[in-house]
């Protein structure tokens, strides 16, 4: 049975406060529908993942685009990556400011530029006709509240991360069998200025290769980098493991070797997919064969028709 096309999104691995769990789940479902609509219409996996992630960047509930966490200075610096599995093309931005959709900027980097992109500067964005937005438009009350709380003595930054919705991302396989991934984040709460996490680092925040599959990661950025989690999972798939096994092996290794938690969405070129996490929760949704699958807590797997309006 044909499993293509397929799209899987995540809205961050961590500990979602109960009062925010509904918006977390509805947001990933909405993003999955938006991305899947593109695939159903014959669009590319790259277009689909960018659309799904941009959707979540625009949603103030997530730590990406609007709703991003604040750095130690109370400002927003965002990272994003896209990767296309056919030619291994990739585009990334790091520590970028005042842009509503870093994932779209990363896409432009891949398409327009031979080089990797500006770190922190918006000159490229302007050249591409992407307008700068006022920094305040990206800041939510929730992020400002968490930033203030984290300035208090004795606050534990890593634990505070896990209490906030995280990075967003998506992987997809289109009808042609091309895979793609996209990941976007505001990074770590109260991070040092200029801190770059796993998200824009190819092999860590994401990786896509038509011969193997695609992964988008979320969790504690520094530990994801130490094990180059996305690439590690794909190495396991190259060795013959299923999307689920490979994802679990990568996450287990990250936990045992460097004591870090996270989550991934993974897809194989034939359309097999997995949404796995070692943290308490990860909001995720997958669209395939006109069905929408989703969950938040470990073991959860709800299904409904993709066309169901709720």
């Amino acid at each position: 049975m044909d499993l293509l096309p397929v799209l899987v999104v995540h809205g961050g691995a961590g500990t979602v406060p109960r009062e925010r769990s509904e918006q977390s789940v509805s947001g990933v479902r909405s993003a999955a529908r938006a991305g899947y609509a593109i695939l159903r219409g014959g669009g590319s996996s790259m277009d689909a993942v960018v659309e799904a992630v941009a959707h979540m960047e625009d949603n103030p509930s997530y730590n990406a685009g609007c709703g991003s966490v604040l750095n130690v200075k109370g400002e927003i610096e965002m990272d994003a990556i896209v990767m296309d599995g056919k030619a291994l093309g990739s585009g990334a931005v790091s520590a970028v400011r005042n842009v509503a959709n870093p994932v779209r900027l990363a896409r432009l980097v891949m398409d327009k530029v031979v080089f990797y992109p500006p770190c922190g500067q918006c000159a490229f964005a302007q050249e591409m006709g992407i307008s700068e937005v006022p920094p305040e438009s990206l800041v939510t009350e929730y992020s400002r509240m968490r930033w203030k709380k984290n300035l208090e003595p004795g606050a534990n930054p890593v634990e505070s991360q896990m209490g906030k919705m995280g990075t967003v991302g998506a992987v997809a396989v289109d009808r042609e069998g091309n895979v793609a991934c996209a990941t976007s984040t505001g990074g770590m709460l109260n991070k040092m200025e200029g801190r770059v996490g796993d998200t824009p680092c190819i092999g860590s925040g994401g990786y896509a290769d038509n011969q193997v599959g695609a992964v988008s990661t979320t969790g504690h950025g520094e530990v994801i980098m130490k094990v180059t989690l996305a690439r590690l999972i794909l190495f396991h798939m190259e060795q013959g493991h299923t999307v689920e096994e490979a994802s679990d092996m990568g996450l287990a290794y990250m936990k045992s070797r460097v004591d870090g938690l996270g989550g991934v969405v993974t897809v194989g070129p034939q359309g097999n997919w997995a949404a796995r996490f070692s943290s308490l929760q990860m909001a995720w949704a997958a669209a395939q064969k006109d069905s929408l699958h989703y969950g938040l807590y470990a073991g959860e797997h709800f299904t409904q028709s993709i066309d169901d309006p709720h």
């Binding site: 093309g89 770190c119 922190g120 801190r195 770059v196 190819i202 990786y207 130490k226």
Partner: protein
């Protein structure tokens, strides 16, 4: 357990007028790295020491002698990684600081909870720990200023640039100490006339370098975008994990990079048991290694010269 150090000074078509200096430079760096190990330093100390020596040498494109971006400024990237804990420190797009790798990247690794800092934030961190900034002119050599002027006057794409032998080079080192710990370090000024703020492969963990006590350490050089696309350092180590020798793993990975994304480059690798290799698909790569009281070095393909190393 015998200690090993391997260094490289960049994989590209090194012109004859730079050849002797490049070889002398990598030999000096390898000697320095091994001296650190002999004095009781660990693998991280050794790669830091070796790369510092390379950075301070104007013939290489790192620190002094680094290529200028489109604004005529010096921007530097670097990474260091400790195979024992997988701890890593990287900086990208840092300006006006000499020796970014060694002090800065290591400081990111040891003095922050982060793995990578970029741009202004990276500069501010350096200042906060008392690292001096130096004026751009101090880091800009006459040769680089001339090259920059030349390139400003006509546009060349990266591939053309690379193939026409005006490619960037990068410096790096890998080591295994007597305790069996491995480490890597890579530093670069990036491609000449690159777009302001471009981040290449060097500071990206798994691409410019990677170190893991369970498999080995790698430092890469060559066409940055290609190295990124195949996550070259991590790829080489995955082949070692699958049972290939260090040399075979490097060869297979560089071949894959050439076939899949038409990129050329080089890599130095070392395993925890002391196996090492210096492999490249570019015309030349200046490299040197010290192992068992022998200093090995080369420049052209299949060149494997040696002389005794006395400490």
């Amino acid at each position: 357990m015998p200690a090993v150090i391997v260094v490289h000074g960049g994989a590209w078509a090194i012109p004859n007028n730079l050849a002797q200096d490049s070889v002398n430079g990598v030999k000096a760096a390898a000697r320095e790295g091994m001296s650190v190990l002999k004095r009781g330093g660990n693998a991280v100390d050794a790669v830091e020491g070796a790369v510092r020596t390379l950075e301070n040498n104007c013939v290489f494109n790192a620190g002094h002698g680094a290529a200028l971006n489109t604004r005529g400024e010096v921007e530097l990237d670097a990474i260091i990684m400790d195979g024992r804990t997988l701890a890593s420190g990287a900086v990208s797009c840092v300006k006006n600081i000499a020796n970014p790798v060694m002090e800065k990247a290591r400081a990111v690794m040891e003095k922050t909870v982060h793995v990578m800092l970029t741009g202004q934030g990276a500069n501010m961190f350096a200042e906060s720990i008392g690292m001096n900034t130096v004026p751009t002119e101090m880091l800009v050599t006459q040769n680089e200023r001339k090259e920059w002027e030349k390139h400003k006057n006509y546009v060349t794409g990266v591939m053309e640039d690379f193939n026409s032998q005006w490619a960037h080079d990068t410096v790096g080192a890998v080591a295994v100490d007597s305790a069996g710990n491995v480490a890597c370090a890579t530093s670069t000024g990036g491609i000449r006339n690159k777009m302001v703020g471009r981040v290449g492969d060097s500071p990206i963990i798994g691409c410019g370098g990677y170190a893991d006590n369970s498999s080995g350490a790698v430092s890469c050089t060559g066409h940055g975008e290609s190295i990124l696309k195949v996550t070259l350092a991590r790829l080489i180590l995955s082949h070692i994990e699958q049972g290939k020798s260090v040399a075979e793993a490097s060869r297979v990975s560089l071949k894959y990079m050439g076939d899949r994304v038409q990129g050329a480059g080089g890599a130095i690798s070392v395993s925890p048991s002391g196996q090492w290799a210096a492999t490249f698909t570019t015309e030349r790569m200046a490299w040197a290694a010290v192992h068992n009281y022998t200093l090995w070095y080369g420049l052209d393909p299949d060149e494997n010269l040696k002389e005794p190393f006395t400490y």
